[in-house]
Amino acid sequence: MSMINRKIIFTGPVGAGKTTAIAAISDIKPIATDEYASDMTKSRKPQTTVAMDYGLIRLSDNERVHLYGTPGQERFDFMWDILTKGGIGLILLLDNTRKDPFQDIRFYTNAFRDFIEKQQMVVGVTRMDLQRRPGLPEYRQYLESLSLQAPVFEVDARSHKDITMLLQALLFSLDPGVIN
């Protein structure tokens, strides 16, 4: 029996909660970029580098959903097209306490434009408990000004329920006829 693999991409600026969000729904303990393996912390030991944060949802013995988080640093943006190859959708996480979250939207939606047009994006705004402005109406209008239509939700990246809602919105946006 062949293994069926699908991929969902999480992106957003550093600190927006990508790794945490993956951890909230992953069946496994996520592997993070820049992670040091258990006994690698001493100097002169090689560092483990993985291309993306990684989590996994196992649907059955032969069906898996791989959750990939892009490295948060913007200097990796020139690689993002190849990172998303084969992905079914994009979760963009934004940190509402950042200086200019709209600039983040512009940056990430531009970087993933082709992928978003082919697939689907869902936006989760984190840390709204710490900073209420901008609010969701402003996010919606800003996305509209970029000619983008996407669900925008307030989320707590630690919350299984919230991240599950993002995924539900992604799947239903891709195919509203899906039966849950």
Binding site: N5, R6, K7, I25, D27, I28, K29, I31, A37, S38, D39, M40, R44, K45, P46, T48, T49, V50, A51, M52, L56, I57, L59, E63, R64, H66, Q73, F76, F78, M79, W80, D81, I82, K85, G86, A111, R133, L136, P137, E144, Q149, P151, V152, F153, E154, V155, H160, T164, M165, L167, Q168, A169, S173, L174, D175, P176, G177, V178, I179, N180
Partner: protein, 457 residues
């Protein structure tokens, strides 16, 4: 997976690439791009890939020009170098696919003009001599390393490549001089085999996440009845149950919401003697002294109003200071402003449409409601998705999704209260999206069941 090619994967060595970008490239080459490139040791490579924006790139390339191997140069600005092809950043899989053919063309053209050099590339003796110590150095680290993620420790070097996670060697100044005798150039590239967890069949540490259910199914169903009513489906437009918003608290809530939005000032709405709600537009919050989940609030929304029952005003600075103090000290009673309007609408409508709504009119959902912070009810997400995807009447949506009409009517009333619909008939056409592909429906359905069934497998 990307398809290529006449000649199989192109054997490449990666130069002047940061560990992360190297990991990302190798990740791609091990997955979707596995038919395009194979990362090998420098000596085995047919071509080099280098990040020309990396500070070491020019130096690295100069040291290898004499090898007459083609280079694939990644850079923001155009780079015209002999025996190289340029791929502009941002990098795309399409550009990488095309690059393979172009590299083979370069190799072929060199075969014509420099046949001996290409048929049997002359590897710099310096490179050949230098490689083993560095590889040994890497191997030594691997041997001593407790391999993460269940990769078994290795004792011998594979004939092909190192089976490993992508490893960045220690900084040059940290390298043990006993292992690497002299810093010489060019630096060889340690061959690696990328670790893509998705490709590996290895035991990863599993998480057992208990299912946390706050309310019972019975309680949830009771609440859904309060929010969406219990009406049966109707066959004709004339049979649709309607309500008159002006007869309920909802009218005052909407008026207060409008006032708050227009003035960007907090609005005070009296609900009952000593009971009130504050709508705070700047914070996007509402503070209600009556719990919106309570029977009292449900009754307030359900029962027709008496004249003068609800009053609203913009508090003075002094009054506002006191009210905000009260709200701060009662944080549990704060809720999202949209959530307050949403729940007020649902409890009032109970699955009915507002009088004045053109039931047959097609509308489109312009903006999704913030479903993570609003009270949910069955099918809300599917209704939002379909209505966002194509203009339709409420009856069309219920029919297309094959769900009870009351949920669609409830959604319509609540989303309308939040101004989330596009009503302008001239703009509807442009909002229509392509019909979704159904090829993934089975998979999506299984994933949804899994997500909604809780965190455990």
């Amino acid at each position: 997976m990307l398809k290529h090619s006449k000649s199989g994967p192109l054997k490449v060595a990666l130069l002047a690439i940061s560990p992360h970008n190297r990991a990302i490239l190798e990740f791609f080459f091990s997955g979707a791009g596995r038919n395009l490139f194979r990362v090998v040791a420098e000596a085995e490579a047919d071509a080099f890939i280098l990040d020309f924006d990396h500070p070491d790139a020019k130096d690295d390339w100069q040291k290898r020009e004499a090898l007459h191997k083609p280079g694939v140069v990644l850079s923001v600005h155009q780079a015209e170098l002999p025996n190289c092809i340029w791929i502009p950043k941002p990098l795309t899989s399409r550009a990488l696919t095309d690059a393979v053919d172009r590299v083979y063309e370069l190799m072929a053209s060199r075969e014509v003009t420099h046949a001996p050099a290409v048929q049997r590339p002359v590897i710099s003796p310096t490179v050949v001599e230098l490689e083993p110590p560095l590889v040994k150095h890497a191997e030594a680290h691997f041997r001593d390393l407790a391999q993460p993620f269940g990769v078994p420790a290795r004792t011998e070097r594979s004939a092909k490549t190192l089976r490993s996670l992508v490893i960045s060697l220690p900084d040059e100044d940290e390298v043990d001089e006993a292992v690497v005798p002299h810093k010489a150039s060019p630096e060889p590239v340690v061959p690696t085999e990328v670790f893509d967890p998705a490709e590996a069949d290895i035991p990863l540490e599993e998480i057992d996440r208990p299912v946390a259910s706050v309310v019972s199914q019975e309680e949830a169903e009771r609440r859904w009845k309060a929010l969406c009513g219990e009406q049966d489906d109707v066959q004709t437009v004339a049979e649709v149950a309607l309500f008159t918003p002006e007869n309920y608290l909802l009218a005052s809530v909407l008026e207060a919401g409008r006032m708050a939005r227009d003035t960007q000032q907090t609005v005070y709405l009296t609900l009952a003697p000593q009971e009130f709600v504050l709508l705070m537009p700047k914070q996007g919050l509402a503070y209600s002294t009556i719990d919106t989940l309570s029977e009292e609030f449900r009754a307030l929304c359900n029962n027709p109003v008496q004249t003068g029952q609800f009053a609203l005003h913009i508090p003075s600075a002094t009054e506002l200071e006191q009210l905000e103090k009260q709200a701060e000290g009662d944080a549990d009673a704060l809720l999202d402003l949209e959530a307050f309007v949403w729940v007020s609408s649902l409890l009032t409508a109970r699955g009915r449409l507002g009088r004045g709504v053109d039931i047959a009119q097609k509308v489109s959902l312009k903006y999704w409601p913030n479903l993570t912070r609003l009270e949910s009810f069955p099918h809300a997400m599917r209704i939002a998705a379909l209505w966002n995807q194509r203009p339709a009447s409420a009856l069309d949506i219920a029919k297309a999704l094959d769900i009870p009409q009351r949920y669609v009517f409830a959604f319509h009333t609540a989303a309308n209260a939040l101004n989330l619909f596009e009503m302008d008939q001239n703009k509807l056409k442009s909002r229509e999206k392509e019909m979704p592909k159904q090829e993934n429906r089975g998979f999506f359905s299984r994933l949804l069941k899994r997500l909604l069934g809780g965190g455990t497998k």
